[in-house]
Symmetry: C2
Amino acid sequence: MRIITISRQFGSGGRELGKRLAERLGWDYYDREIIDTLAAEQGLEPDYVKKTLANHGWQNMQLTYRNSFSHLLYDPGMSTQIRIREREILREIAALGNDCVIIGRDADVILEDFHPFRVFVCADTEARLRRCMKHELRRPEPERLSERQVLRNMKRIDRNRAHTREILTGRVHGDGSRFDLTVNTAGWDIKKLTGALADFALQWFEG
Amino acid sequence: MRIITISRQFGSGGRELGKRLAERLGWDYYDREIIDTLAAEQGLEPDYVKKTLANHGWQNMQLTYRNSFSHLLYDPGMSTQIRIREREILREIAALGNDCVIIGRDADVILEDFHPFRVFVCADTEARLRRCMKHELRRPEPERLSERQVLRNMKRIDRNRAHTREILTGRVHGDGSRFDLTVNTAGWDIKKLTGALADFALQWFEG
């Protein structure tokens, strides 16, 4: 079994890169929302998650799940339960034994003993802001955030991620040597980068 | 013209990786000593460097040059001159217009306008120490450093590099987004990594 974990800076395109990578390799794909939702779901109905995990095919479930359960993620009591349970969920995902790509959730640390190929995806602030503003343009105008609001979100989210990570590892988020590869998405077409990254990762697993 | 710059943590194997990469791609290769020596040489005989650069084929000159001119690098007055001149040397190397791999000397920053593919090579402290100790074993016993001495050197050299870099860029050394790719050499066979990196870099230049 081969696991690729994708950690990333907010706005770097890490999630898109990870999703495309899973598609290209034909591997299972798990992102933050899926894992959070599984954990929340498990909080409600313990057997459900195992049954569902055994069916695979998570690639297309992301949006449904996000819509059905997103309210749980904003319940503070539930979100603590989720943080505890997502660790178990990650272990169960790994125990399935399928090749997979996992986005976020510090899976690189939690699944260290499965020797994942640990990718960190970053970009300079300007490139990340450009990417985020493109996403904002696709939203209905009243919900659209300004550059200033996006920048503030970016800083807050990265600070939270760094904080969780420091608690978990005692190391600074983004410290190169904690990952096997750190990719800067600035200057890449994401599709091309997906191909280059897939080739690199497969060679790493052969080694 | 394509330039790959290799910045690295001490003991990460960055120089070896860069040298192998240049060989594999068939590109010109410049390392720190070559550039320092060229700069020192230019300090003595201004025309010499240009003439020599025009002849290419630096790949095999490293040791000769290091032996001939290393005393200059320990003369503090000369080393200041060298820091000033190496910038010009790097610009001249770039102006030659050949595909090349350049190790160190903050070439990624100094040659930013040539859009180099900027690689940072790192590894965790333990892996770097192992690599350094292997090198020590090849030295005659009286010159061999202890683990403790190597660790001290490692920290000092990395601190110096970080310092130079901060002065030059106002950024922290090893900050992922200042590079296009950060490679962790731990867990790789260097020859395999060379192949994977060459493929990745060529795809970057196509993009």
